[in-house]
Symmetry: C2
């Protein structure tokens, strides 16, 4: 039997948890067990099919583990004996641990649509070999139907078209794509950008059946309409991968995630921690469980879990929900609550917007119009959320908002924000839109 | 005699102060007096000579004033009678005010070098016509010497070379360019980028004389060496434009700036406010006066001043010092203290670095390596400053650091930062360098 101090089960957040542990407890031995030899950068998966040109260009280098003194065991954990503190692997090997970290992530949701198991119908798994097969298969297809217009669906649609003569249709059950993530005006802007590329978007409709014999030939929509398809991609979301945790007797919470406290310690066993998509998330804003699965949350939790294994260092402040995407060259990002979610929570809010070119003057090369929307609590003036669309700088502007949200900054404080500006890199300081959106909120907050 | 509620004297920060006042006190009449008909975006001035192609492409639209109901008077204020609350203009007109805002900015420093008044020796003034003259003149020059290797000097050198067959030499008195602004390793990186373009950089030397009859023909350095020059640009800094304020009897403080309190109200007269380069700045970190002149500070002060004219809304938290620049396509930025300034203040600090590509995978198009350096107070773990070099995203990443600094976040808190990430827009969440630099600081802070 192999022995270790810390045993980590899983992928991306497992790496981060392992590194965090090694940093805090350099004397502890850390072993990471995962099935996959090669691990992909999860957020990069849609980009395999366009911009980055194949799965081999999207791998997380194992050097990251070696460099941090983490031993990698390529195997699958199949059972956990928490009493004996031993994990059994698929190969028959066993590993004894002192502290165990579940970072087992999530699995793609496969909807119970008739025909979902036909050939060329692909849920988006994270396995290298599987995604390579999809990549090869995509070389010869003509008609792709993507079920689900969330991030994965929209990013796949935008990437698959690149360098391919292929008809792509996104089918979304809600009235617009990305509706779970963004407010209506941003969804509309994203849809316009996506359809500009030739991708067809069908909303407020469902795929009722996947047609064909062995291999898919089309889909039938709820209204009876049929669409030709020689490939179907399922992008309707993911479910936490917590079968093993359940078998190990760990208490599961919201949506079958592992119940953890603010230290990322499992409710059930003080020697078992969890982080990432498999762990329960508590909203930063309400304290209630929320069903978010984001890299920004997973890696934050992993850093907390790794640091807390032998002594509590960090307490999780809750999931803020920060993310960004790109549709046909335009970036979209959200941090915290949207107007829709805030109103659904019954919050009394002040909503403001501001826009400005992301260079100054706007005539500089590669200038894009940045549109910012901010949501403040009316009673306190505290920022609750924001959304941005624009050019490349959106990716870090949303992190400016994330820092403001994490620190419960008020509109009054954001007005005073001292932002560095440069003609080629940012908006002019006079019109910097995050600050100007806050300026516009001051009076409505008072009134 | 013309009458107004609020009279603003000056340029960039004057516009922002005016808009802020109109937003808070929509019933108040606001008049802005400035000499220049057309006002340039100050940070864009070096870019006139390269990227943006002429001063006409770098003007602040007067529509900004109209849109906000601010009346523009193109004239020069020559005297202030604070007792009668009347300002006299060059034209002979007078304007009575209730509240007066000095936003008179700064003027380029002209060093007492023999020959500094010869033709084709140009301090960098902000006047449109003047900069147009420099632009026309530059079309025929062959040898440009830039005195001063600070931001203005380096940005001019980098821009003037674009599309021109011209020899450019930067002469800097200190041992490296940008040394007042950045730590040595960033200065060295910037110098490498600049010299790659063919610009010659001479450090630790001074221009002792400007040669030629009427028109410059060269410069003589302290060691006796002579450089050919048919144009000399002076980029050695600026002095606050406070002659009029002094004549008006306002108390001046550090470096002849107008003494103001945290509300931006002048020490001398409760009806007179000041903001921007002409107003005294207090360090966010030490509470002492500091000689910073930055757009990030000026516009923040202007927003505060405008809001406080009739009732105190905001209190200035002090100057953080946040800025960014671009040298030959690579961006450099600093927020807060550098390692050098922190050590000069005798602070006990922990310094860490981290680097990562600004896309993930790093093989995405337009990927740059981002290098981050962070400075924490050892006793408290509070972030005091940071510097970044990299690609375009540096412009907003430095604002993430600015938000962290403004809120006195500790390394422990930054470790938990939830940053949105996207393959095309940011580093991978595993290696996001601001967070990883904070992670590396935790143990050294404890020890």
């Amino acid at each position: 039997m192999k022995q270790t101090d810390v045993l980590v089960l899983g992928g991306l957040s497992g790496i981060t948890a392992g590194i965090s542990c090694r940093r805090h407890y350099p004397d502890k031995k850390v072993v990471l067990v995962r099935k996959e030899g090669t691990v992909l950068i999860p957020c990069g998966i849609p980009y395999i099919y366009g911009t980055v040109g194949g799965p081999q260009n999207n791998v997380i280098p194992d050097g990251l583990l070696e460099k941090n003194g983490i031993e990698l065991v390529k195997d699958e954990a199949v059972a956990v004996d928490r009493e004996k503190k031993v994990v059994s692997l698929q190969s028959g090997e066993t590993i004894s641990y002192d502290k165990l970290v579940f970072a087992t992530g999530s699995l793609p949701m496969v909807p119970p649509i008739p025909g979902v198991n036909k050939k060329n119908v692909y849920p988006i798994k994270k396995d290298f070999g599987y995604l390579e097969e999809v990549y090869e298969e995509m070389k010869s297809v003509k008609d792709v139907v993507i079920i689900g217009g969330g991030f994965i669906g929209v990013e796949f649609a935008d990437e698959c078209r690149k360098g391919r003569d292929v008809n792509i249709t996104v089918v979304e059950a809600l009235p617009s794509c990305l509706q779970m993530a963004m407010d209506d005006e941003f969804c509309a802007e994203a849809k316009d950008k996506l359809t500009e590329t030739g991708v067809k978007v069908m909303v407020s409709t469902r795929v009722e059946a996947i047609l064909g014999d062995d291999t898919v030939t089309g889909v039938r929509l709820a209204g009876g309409e049929e669409l030709k398809a020689d490939m179907v991609i399922l992008g309707i979301g993911a479910v936490p991968n917590t079968e093993l945790a359940k078998k190990a007797g760990l208490e599961l919470g919201f949506n079958n995630t592992i119940k953890v406290d603010r230290c990322m310690q499992s409710y059930t066993d003080p020697d078992v921690f969890a982080c990432g998509d498999c762990a329960e998330k508590i909203s930063f804003f309400t304290g209630r469980p929320v069903g978010l699965m984001l890299a920004s949350i997973a890696t934050s939790e992993a850093r907390i879990a790794g640091a807390n294994l032998y002594s509590t260092v960090h307490q999780n402040c809750g999931a803020i929900s920060v993310f960004s995407t790109v549709v046909n060259g335009r970036a979209f990002a959200v941090a915290g609550l949207t107007e829709r979610t805030a109103r659904q929570c019954g919050m009394n809010i002040v909503v403001t917007t501001a826009e400005a070119p992301d260079t100054h003057p706007g005539g500089m090369p590669n200038s894009s119009l940045t549109k910012v929307k901010t949501i403040f609590a009316k009673e306190t003036g505290v920022i609750l959320g924001g959304a941005i669309s624009g050019g490349r700088s959106v990716g870090e502007m949303i992190n400016v908002l994330s820092a403001c949200i994490m620190h419960k900054m008020t509109a009054n404080e954001i007005v005073q924000f001292q932002m560095g500006t440069h003609p080629a890199l940012t908006s002019s300081p006079i019109v910097y839109p995050i600050v100007n959106a806050a300026c516009k909120a001051i009076i409505p907050i008072w009134q």
